[in-house]
């Protein structure tokens, strides 16, 4: 096997700043690179992204590759896969890490199959095996009910996407001595098969779900769009955001962007209030890191009570209105 070396992170920007997952990856990647005694690099693919190098070097990247071209203004599977593919062919990283984000979950498998190597998505733990020097990749399977450990034995690079919010971002260092390396992808517009026609951004009313200190989450048992209006009122009152399980989103009672869980958002608020939801493992995947879990459900056997700190067994339609009233009193009595 030709010599593959180093850990390469595929960085993401959010409104021009480093995405939090990218900072988390720098911490995870640093540890892997140190255990291998190799370098940590990061690549950004985008348009007019020259500034990002300054932002990222203090977090410990040895090299920053910039693939900067108007062609990469929007994320697009084809263009980004090809750019990253060219970089991997030249740099020959041992490991490539991406965030398990809308970009990463699309780009990672595409990249892996074009490089004819293996990929594991949604990893929650990565470490270097002391004997084999392979990256052990642990990911939830069966909707989070089990965990599996995988390795990519024979092909390189070893590619994984990493779930958000597994660990805090590393401290910003005072000095960084990372090198900035512009990289030419050799791609031109005529080579792209797919076109991005536009992007519709969801209107966020109030606080963003991922940033909310309090999340009021509803499930299948809410039963209707009207049911969710009380949850929205409570969320607003507590300065939080509304979340939902997949069945509630699929039923159309609430926007799909409220979905929390395996195929939705991962949250870790201070206070999570789960209402009329059973707490299926697929949902728990998205919220089990919440610091305080409160549950209201008719069924005393519901899984959610097993991870809750406070619970009320009963119909939310009866429990919730007086709960909201009392919360109002509390909040208005605060100085």
């Amino acid at each position: 096997m030709p010599e593959y070396k180093g850990v390469l992170i595929c960085g993401e920007l959010f409104d021009g700043s480093l995405a939090s997952i990218t900072l988390e990856l720098l911490g995870i990647g640093r540890k892997l690179a140190d255990d291998l005694g190799q370098d940590l690099s990061i690549v950004f693919i985008g348009s007019e992204i020259g500034d990002v190098a300054k932002q990222v070097i203090p977090y410990g990247a040895d090299k920053v590759y910039l693939i900067d071209n108007p062609l990469f203004k929007d994320y697009q599977t084809d263009s980004h896969t090809r750019a990253l593919h060219s970089l991997c062919k030249q740099v020959m990283p041992e490991i490539v890490l991406l965030g398990h984000t809308s970009v990463g979950r699309d780009l990672a498998p595409s990249l892996a199959y074009t490089l004819d190597t293996g990929v594991t998505l949604d990893c929650i733990s990565l470490c270097i095996d002391q004997d084999t020097k392979l990256m052990r990749q642990i990911k939830p399977v069966y909707g989070g009910k089990a965990l599996a450990t995988y390795v990519c034995e024979k092909t390189r690079p070893q590619i994984a996407t990493v779930r958000a919010r597994l660990m805090p971002a590393p401290e910003r260092g005072d000095t960084g001595k990372g090198k900035v390396i512009p990289f030419e992808s050799g791609l031109d517009a005529s080579m792209l098969r797919v076109r991005v026609l536009g992007k519709i951004r969801e209107e966020v009313v109030g606080i963003k779900l991922e940033d909310a200190r309090v999340v009021v989450c509803g499930g299948r048992g809410i039963g209707s769009t009207e049911g969710f209006s009380l949850l929205k009122e409570l969320a607003k009152l507590l300065g939080g955001a509304v979340g939902a399980t997949r069945p509630a989103c699929d039923a159309g009672w609430v926007s799909t962007y409220c979905q929390i869980g395996l195929t939705g958002k991962i949250i870790a608020p201070d206070v999570y209030i789960g209402i009329a939801l059973s707490g299926a493992s697929q949902h728990q995947t998205g919220m089990s890191a919440s610091k305080n879990i409160i549950a209201i459900n008719k069924d005393p056997e519901a899984e959610i009570f097993k991870i809750a700190h406070y619970g009320v067994v009963g119909d939310y339609k009866k429990v919730l209105p007086p709960f909201v009233e009392k919360c109002k009193e509390f909040i208005s009595s605060e100085p």
Binding site: T77, S110, Y142, K145, Y150, I307
Partner: protein
């Protein structure tokens, strides 16, 4: 419009954690007695996506599934929903947890079918949650892919899709043929009618083994070393009660206030 939908038969993912068991030696979940196998959720959404296009533009839908003989039932269910043909890829040497081989086998089968405009997969399978088979097939077939698609339209000989992302959606245009992985935003999968269920039962299905599609089932890129139950997070829940549920609600708010959580 020739459409192919790849589906997988899995253990019902809604099985409660309390009865979920695994065989660590075989690295598989153990199917409890009386637990039925189902078509993986997002794969049903993929069938629904194809059916929606068929309603408008006509065409043929072929279901392809890699699995054991029991997967015939999954294929029949999709035919009962409205698909036309079904092909089972079954071979004792196939390992459905080997996602690379699964993608490669499905791609080989699709090549053998030959004529296709759109291929649909679910965004990820409900057992291994791998999320890579669709992208893999697209790469093996050298066709473009859009993942996590919530809406599909045909426009001027191309396909326009909405890809659901964390903060909205992207509108993407792909040439045909293309592969789409479908998310639940596409809409609830339709229920089969009794008449169609009856018709699906007598439908002749094709079965191909590894040799028929010229594939080496041992090819893999990732090896599973171990499978174990997720550590249970348990908290001791303090149940708040009252004379009435209304009172319980009020008391819950008081508790949370005292604990400075609100």
């Amino acid at each position: 419009m020739n459409m192919i939908v790849c589906v997988k038969q899995i253990m019902d993912p809604e099985i409660p954690a309390s009865v979920f068991k695994i065989d660590p030696e075989a690295k598989r979940a153990i199917l409890p007695n009386n637990m039925k196998l189902v078509v993986s959720d997002y794969d049903k959404n993929a069938v629904e996506a194809a059916l929606k296009l068929k309603e408008i533009h006509g065409g043929k839908i072929t279901i392809v599934s890699l699995g054991s003989q029991s997967a015939i039932e999954a294929i029949r269910e999709c035919i009962a929903m409205g698909a036309d043909e079904g092909i089972l890829l079954s071979d004792p040497l196939f390992d459905e947890s080997n996602l690379y081989c699964t993608a490669s086998a499905l791609a080989q089968a699709i090549k053998k079918i030959g004529d296709f405009d759109l291929i649909f997969c679910g965004r990820e399978e409900g057992d291994w949650d791998g999320g890579q088979v669709g992208s893999g097939i697209a790469n093996f077939l050298s066709i473009p892919v859009a993942t996590v698609v919530g809406k599909v339209q045909l426009k001027n000989g191309k396909v326009e899709v909405e890809r659901v992302v964390a903060d909205g959606c992207e509108i993407i245009e792909l040439p045909i043929p293309a592969l789409l992985t479908i998310s639940s935003e596409i809409g609830t999968p339709r229920y089969p009618t009794v008449r169609r269920i009856m018709a699906a039962r007598s439908k002749q299905l094709i079965t191909w083994n590894a040799q028929d599609i010229n594939i080496d089932p041992s090819t893999s890129r990732i090896k599973m070393l171990e499978l174990f139950l997720a550590p249970k997070k348990e908290a001791r829940c303090e149940f708040v009660e009252g004379e009435t549920l209304e009172e319980a609600g009020t008391k819950l708010a008081l508790k949370l206030g005292q604990a400075k959580l609100i």
